[in-house]
Point group: C2
Chain length 213, copies 2
DNA sequence: GTAGCTTTGTGAAGAATTTCACAAGCTCCT
DNA sequence: AGGAGCTTGTGAAATTCTTCACAAAGCTAC
């Protein structure tokens, strides 16, 4: 299969969100025009994105909403539930655990881990904070696990190494640090300071620069 | 000035982070090779990125660390402090308020606002949760303000409209919703569910796809 | 059934971004 | 002072991503 750009995957994710809305409202079909309008992109872009994976629409009619929803869920690998472990029982970890969007979209928070001995064993919402040492055992045999890293930068790389040794193959990193992972592990980083700096740049150099929605 | 790509700005931000480290350690110069290694990019990319803004290096020697640090801070508009108001006194707002990276890099949390009458007036860390209605007055005359939106999606657009009416010109949005802003307002959105879905896609279709560090 | 309207799917064109490759410039050493 | 050894800055090439434009195909009405 051809390599799919990151930007394409993000848009697929967005199409899915809106298609789910339309489906819930009982709308049967949607044209690339309509989707483009909702997602602030172009009809051509919508069609091109979808065409990488097959031809789901009917000419003259548009895309069947319910069917395309399933197809996108399949493409994005959202047909089964993903188990999410949160590493770092701090404020960011807490915010993520409560984030509505996760559960709604099939990501189930499975457990919370920390390195700090003070925190291990403490209750945390409905769960108990567990030790990183038990991660490998807890995940033994588990396949669809995504780890969310919400700890200070200093420890980030060493914790990542521990996680990978424990069998984690996907990491969403919130620590503002460059993390290195082997090729078989997928990593995404969200860096909030970097986003703010992007806004600072835009405000400082407003030569027609526009932020990204 | 030429339009600067978003990806370029993100990398500048990253160069700055590492240059600050090097500066703190007393290193005098750094080559594009060294920066590229630290930031996981290529030397040519580093040079090209910097060359959009001037020529800061010395051939045969590299870039003067301390000087380039200042230059980048200037380019990114980080020479003065930015005031950050957090809209939404929930878990995400709390996490952001405590995020070390913000304060460290010149973003000062100025106040917390909410729409919910139950929350308004309540203490929140060292501050008191304020009403959105007072936003316009509070910001009157203030120039360098960035609003961080951490509320549920349903209210997002209407709150954004209120903020813009109050004079906000830069918004970092954490609500998983498409927000529309007029051209003079800069907007960046962070969508955590979308990031997780990207990982789900990568794990499901691991045909050489690699996440982004 | 076919004319007219609509919308997809897709090569090809265009734009944007990254990488290449090398001349020019600086430092250090002798 | 001159040559050797680096490293920058930058046009040009390559690659990646987006937009265009249109043939092919479905639907509706008569």
């Amino acid at each position: 299969m051809k390599r799919i750009a990151d930007s394409t995957v993000r848009r697929l994710s967005m199409y899915l969100r809106y298609l789910e809305d339309l489906d819930a409202r009982g709308q049967k079909t949607a044209s690339s025009d309509e989707l483009a309008l909702l997602c602030h992109t172009t009809p051509a872009q919508v069609r091109k994105d979808l065409s990488f994976f097959g031809s789901f629409g009917k000419r003259g009619l548009g895309y069947p909403v319910h069917d395309l929803t399933s197809q996108l869920r399949h493409i994005l690998g959202l047909e089964h539930e993903w188990k999410v472990v949160i590493i770092g029982a701090g404020k960011i970890g807490a915010a993520l655990a409560n984030y509505r969007g996760f559960r709604q979209r099939g990501f189930r928070i499975e457990g919370v881990y920390d390195v700090s001995p003070d925190k291990i064993g403490q209750p945390w919402g409905e769960a108990i904070i567990r030790s990183m040492d038990s991660l490998a055992d807890d995940l033994a045999g588990q396949d669809s696990v995504i780890a969310v890293l919400a700890i200070p930068s200093d420890d980030a790389q060493s914790v990542v190494d521990t996680m990978i040794a424990a069998g984690v193959r996907a990491i969403l990193n919130f620590a503002p640090a460059q993390i290195v992972v082997p090729a078989h592990v997928s990593l995404k980083s969200v860096n909030m300071a970097m986003e703010l700096e992007g806004l600072s740049f835009a405000l400082t150099n407003n030569h027609g620069y526009r932020g990204v929605a």
